[in-house]
């Protein structure tokens, strides 16, 4: 480091013209920054809820309540999917234990909030602590058993969790009414805000992770364990990390789910079963396992599309399984022809559009050498 290095930066060699274009560039750059994208996304989500509440007060329906609650649960499942994207897309670890992990969070929330009457933040921390333990456990298992076998083992583990939770309490009567959140008593709107905030934080952390040496190390581990190990990447460390993160995300989602449901009587076996794990997997595959936005889109297709927009279509309300059929069909098509999922489709579209623009330019000005 020398002082001339700084002095050379002093000389103002930019013409006013460059300065002008620079300001536009800086806006573009800011929009490309993931953090600002997430903040904009969050603002849109919160604005939707605010509009809906406004409609409630004015006694008109701007946005239907069913739409908002479907959006809320979609966002909750998005948290799980993002964790799963870290696990499948980056670490190459296929897990079918997701339902069990969400169940842990849900049960922790139930016991903390209803039976023990502790603040919600303690419930979240408790759920995280439990899920870290489980994540470490699964991580150790993944060191001994790999690939296709791991999916099956985690499936077995999910069964263990399901039966264990059922043995602890077969049916749970959730009735959360007295929890203070953001200074007011809990209701669907405040929980929704909490969900948006937590989701945004998770998205930000995940995108930081995957663009850092940690994410690269995970990718290396996924592609070639021997190269990864030869260059100092400890399989144990990163597999544990991946599992701990994904279980934590799932558990957080479970806590949010309980708080969002608020009052219902249900049991573990109806809440989270194999179908949940498969749906999350499907969401991640459809969206593209390596892109956060793709995963969000996938989750939306799996969980949000029919209750949010298609709830009025008569055919679908009469045949509720049609949407399952459709998603199955979609999963098969995506894996057959676009293994990168929707994210890959968008990428291909972008390339095609830019090629089209280039062609148009060439037509106008002629080909360059």
């Amino acid at each position: 480091m020398t002082s001339t290095q700084f002095k050379s930066r002093l000389l103002c060699d930019k013409t006013p013209l460059e300065k002008e274009t620079e300001s536009i560039d800086s806006i573009k750059r800011a929009l490309k920054n993931p953090l600002s994208q997430y903040i904009i996304f969050g603002i849109i989500l919160i604005a939707l809820q605010a509009l809906s509440s406004l409609g409630d007060e004015l006694r008109i329906t701007i946005i239907k309540v069913s739409f908002m609650s479907a959006l809320g649960s979609t966002l909750i499942y998005s948290m799980v999917s993002i964790g799963f994207c870290l696990l499948l897309g980056y670490s190459g670890l296929a897990s079918l234990g997701t339902a069990g992990f969400i169940g842990i969070g849900a049960y922790c929330a139930f016991f903390c909030l209803q039976e023990w009457n502790v603040p919600y933040i303690v419930a979240i921390l408790f759920a995280l602590a439990v899920s870290i333990v489980i994540g470490v456990l699964v991580g150790f298992i993944s060191l001994r058993i790999e690939g296709i076998y791991l999916a099956i083992i985690t499936l077995g583990l999910a069964e263990i969790l399901r039966y264990a939770l059922q043995a602890i309490r077969a049916t749970i009567n959730i009735n959360l009414k007295n929890i203070v959140l953001f200074g007011t008593k809990i209701d669907k709107t405040t929980v929704y805000y909490l969900i948006v905030i937590v989701l945004l934080i998770l998205m930000w952390i995940t995108s930081n992770m995957i663009n850092s040496p940690t994410g690269r190390a995970m990718l290396a581990m996924k592609n070639s364990t021997s190269a990864a190990q030869a260059y100092g990447i400890s399989l144990m460390k990163y597999r544990l990390l991946a599992f701990v993160l994904s279980t934590c995300y799932a558990a957080l989602a479970g806590v949010m789910y309980m708080m969002y449901l608020r009052s219902v009587s249900t049991s573990m076996s109806t809440l989270f079963k194999l179908a949940t794990s498969l749906n999350i997997l499907g969401a991640v595959i459809i969206g593209g396992a390596k892109s956060i936005w793709g995963v969000l889109a996938g989750t939306f297709i799996m969980y949000g599309l029919s209750p949010m927009f298609l709830s009025d279509v008569k055919f679908l309300t009469e045949n509720p399984t049609f949407i399952t059929l459709f998603t199955g069909f979609l999963i098969i098509l995506v894996v057959m022809f676009y293994p990168g999922g929707l994210a890959q489709l968008v990428q291909l579209g972008k390339i095609k559009i830019s090629a089209f623009i280039k062609k148009a330019k060439e037509k106008k000005y002629g080909k360059s050498i």
Binding site: G147, I148, L157, I160, M336
Partner: protein, 305 residues
């Protein structure tokens, strides 16, 4: 009742589960050996078969054996459909991709079943009392065995024997074994791996249909995913026995219900265990698998760098 009586009756009680699980496991193993993937749709394919049987018997008054034959045919057709239409036409399908496609098949079939079958709307029905649910063969003063279980076990044993004979003696069996060890080399040696794989899928579908029909005889068909537990157990049985051999998974499929029965037997004396029975079964399985990741009957593999 003596301890021996209790033990004997719990063990005999696991016979139906063993017979069902063995068939399901054999199907999963066959597909794993030829397509290098775990078929998550196995349970739903079987469910389609059993729903068809039920539909034919309840609404069309078709005799049972014809119904079962139709169920088997449905299983075979779906198996062939997955292999020939989906797997062969995919552009980028690898092992994990195949696995996920079968998961997609689960969603697809779960969506299809209520459209096609009227019976899917009925809740909690038992299918096909083979002989009679309440007929017993009395073995001793305290031990009796359902005739159904014996019939199931017989069917299952016959089918397993036939499949093993086919595997070891027939040309198809040789093809399966060589495809299992190396698909490309097998292909180069003039074995038509396509036919082999398709045949395996067909047989797996048939096995599935039989197993689901049998399972529906002593368990409820609550919804189209009623075979899930059996399927999960079949996968675990495969890993427990080791995918390396054909007999390993089958033995694994015998072991799992036995473990369950043994835990059930201890639960007679320690009542709190009964709530935790399933948990304990899976924990034991998990520990066994962790102890020998290559399977109880599989060889150890050395990683090449």
């Amino acid at each position: 009742m003596t301890v021996f009586d209790n033990l004997a009756s719990t063990l005999l009680g696991s016979l139906p589960s063993i017979s069902v699980l063995v068939l399901a496991t054999l199907a999963v193993t066959l597909i794993f050996k030829t397509s290098y993937t775990t078929n998550f749709a196995q349970g739903v394919i079987s469910a389609v078969g059993s729903y068809l049987v039920m539909e034919l018997m309840l609404f069309y008054r078709v005799p049972m054996y014809i119904g079962i034959l139709a169920g088997i045919t449905a299983g075979i057709l779906i198996g062939l459909f997955i292999d020939i239409v989906i797997f062969r036409n995919g552009r980028y399908v690898n092992a994990i991709g195949k696995q996920i496609i079968t998961m997609g098949m689960v969603s697809l079939l779960v969506g299809v079943i209520p459209f096609v079958f009227k019976t899917a709307g009925l809740e909690a029905v038992y299918l096909m009392p083979m002989v009679a649910l309440n007929k017993y063969v009395v073995l001793s003063k305290n031990i009796a065995i359902q005739i159904n279980s014996l019939v199931y076990f017989g069917i299952s044993a016959v089918i397993v024997t036939v499949v093993f004979l086919l595997l070891n003696l027939s040309k198809w069996g040789l093809g399966v074994r060589s495809t299992a060890s190396n698909e490309q080399v097998a292909g180069m040696l003039g074995i038509n791996t396509y036919v082999i794989t398709a045949a395996s899928w067909a047989i797996a579908g048939a096995l599935g249909a039989v197993s689901a029909t049998m399972y529906a005889g002593f368990n409820m068909m609550s919804n189209s995913l009623f075979m899930t537990t059996i399927q999960v157990n079949a996968f675990l049985a495969c890993i427990l026995g080791g995918f390396a051999t054909f007999y390993g998974p089958v033995l694994g499929a015998v072991i799992i219900p036995l473990i369950s029965a043994l835990i059930g037997f201890t639960a007679i004396y320690i009542p709190t265990l009964s709530t935790w029975r399933e948990v304990l079964v899976y924990v034991v399985l998990l520990l066994l698998i962790l102890w020998k990741p290559q399977g109880l009957f599989g060889p150890r593999a050395v990683r090449k760098v």
